[in-house]
Symmetry: C2
Subunit: 421 residues, 2 copies
Amino acid sequence: MPGRAAKQRRGQLAGSTLGALVVGQSGGPTAVINRSLLGVIREALDAGDRIGPILGLRHGIQGLLAGEYVDLRRQTPDFLEVLADTPSSILGSCRYKLADDDLDRALAELHNLGARSFLYIGGNDSADTTHRLAARAGATGYELACIGVPKTVDNDLVAMDHSPGYGSAARFLALAAMEASRDTESMRRSDPVKILEVAGRHAGWLAAASALGRRSPDEGPHLVYVPEHPVSAESVVEDVEWAFGQYGHVVMVLSENQPEPGGQVLGSGGQPRHLDAFGHAYYDSPAETLANRIRRELGLRARFEKYGTLQRMSIACRSETDATEALSVGREAVRLALSGRSDEMVVLQRQSDDPYCCTLETAPLTLVANQQRLLPPDMIPEPRGGPTPAFRRYAEPLLGAPLPRHARLKSDETGLQPMSS
Amino acid sequence: MPGRAAKQRRGQLAGSTLGALVVGQSGGPTAVINRSLLGVIREALDAGDRIGPILGLRHGIQGLLAGEYVDLRRQTPDFLEVLADTPSSILGSCRYKLADDDLDRALAELHNLGARSFLYIGGNDSADTTHRLAARAGATGYELACIGVPKTVDNDLVAMDHSPGYGSAARFLALAAMEASRDTESMRRSDPVKILEVAGRHAGWLAAASALGRRSPDEGPHLVYVPEHPVSAESVVEDVEWAFGQYGHVVMVLSENQPEPGGQVLGSGGQPRHLDAFGHAYYDSPAETLANRIRRELGLRARFEKYGTLQRMSIACRSETDATEALSVGREAVRLALSGRSDEMVVLQRQSDDPYCCTLETAPLTLVANQQRLLPPDMIPEPRGGPTPAFRRYAEPLLGAPLPRHARLKSDETGLQPMSS
């Protein structure tokens, strides 16, 4: 941002009551993270002159350090309407680990901007960033409301029922696995085995969700592996042989970092391909390793698919429940900031499964920062068993609408019937 | 199928006027191939007692040779309704090359069933199968109406404007590329390059379609490669360096078998990984080769995505125009068979781009069999140039509805505006 514009903004700020609101987006984008931003903007606009400038950080905390932001009060009339259905992070995201040196620079920049509120939409790394800013601001007597807004498709944030972003990615994968199952059933004479490698570095929330469309044992996905339940490549190959014998085709889902019992990523030999800025390790594809092994040992043609970033931001497969909740946590963050709260994250807490109901609560950022929530024991699927009842109760309401019905052949193959929903 | 049921069916057949109608699905499934089957079933049901049994082949021509079929008059009441939105090939598909020995066995089986109509939903290989059955039936005096129903996501069938299946896959990829572009823009600080590898063994219809959502030069996909325009890995790396300099991030699309100027698949060294039953060659991923090279030579982190079979049968991204047309070609095939036509394929021919209008015509199966239609010169995109005007005129009506608008930052990054649609 040019220096002149920044000076002009500081000038405007002098006349406002409660100072600037600064908001950023961080980490992997989702289908609904812009809904959370929209919630922040709408609530801030609704607050009238209680808030001065509304500033969006370009690429999260990196934008703050570089003085790069956008004025969210300047927008064409239909911008907010279109933003509601725009995937990914409109402001730009980052994976940047705040150094201790950065903290004072970041606070000085916020002070320069006249900021009284800092809202950061992200996961457990972002909660750490937000907490450290809150703590340092408190220690230096700077009245800055630092509020975290939860976001992650992995659903591994602690201290909440679930995280916005998860329901939409879960719906995408449940639909993709249903469709892959129809496809593999149909093509089983030539391509009888399909492996879907899904997101979730250490937690199996997404892998488990991909089986939610499995309504009878003969339907795929027939095998599901989650990081909470380490398996050897040998036992996966045995499962595939069994499932092929039972069903004549096999659809398998596994997490991108599925571990072996010894702890190393399946097929990796224990060596990560690279590390990101937070030290997270990335490995070669377990799906590719397994596909080769299944071809070699069972003589079955195996295909694998990796939906990559599409699984985290497909609007066509978005959960409308997720979209609504993402907006509401953004709005709530502004309300908390205006009431002087800080060092907290807005969280969703479930009051009821059926009818589904969540309320907005808060959790200390220190609880969420750098922690990971794994599947609890009663939600961990057996590889051959499909979703557990506890997981269905938990996850189905998050999909936003029932999964579609598909027509299938009856097992005696002499007549046709639709699947029960 | 148990012998008793088959005998019973032959018994029923004796009383019918025009004999049995036999229908099969072949080749790679699509989002709308069941709509074509639905069209066949509905038209056959509407024909009343002019048609006897309506029999669906299990796994295409292989089901005929093995005597495996289903009775499509036996169905639960809502089967047809659910079938309309079921992806993939409900009857099961195959990739089976009919041997000369098979022809007489296949005709004998059809004769046994009392078949007067054989309808086969598939691509150019299926057209070959259907034509050979028609020719042999004609030569032996067997009155059998053999009609082809077009299906392929690759859109490479000759003698027609486009093929059912293409519009839906094109819409899927256009949406996926838009979303991948938003994602890459947002994450460009850590992952600035994304490569999407898309279907289309020899023709670039799908790769070209994936750029239909690109509305300004700075939006992805910035680079598109089609098989009609061979490129070296060196020139792709140069393009990436140029695009990164221009836009700060790069989204690239290329076909799964993208050739180098020498003809070999990019990065393959000329060796296929395997061949299928029709002798089609499958190669290692050009996207993976390029991603590694971009990391090494440009020092840019490059991710690649392969949507695999999802791109051919995602219902959430289906084109409703495609779904409607798929139904109509199925219905038309039955009308042709009932009027005694044979050795023909139903085809869609365009009458007008705007308003979009196609009519149902026919083409000789010999024209379609084993032929491939490439992009014409005026539709081949320059790698850096986006869709040509001729391709936009051709392809946009096939998407079924306008692509969505996405919000984006203005280029001066001090304000926000929605993209024009």
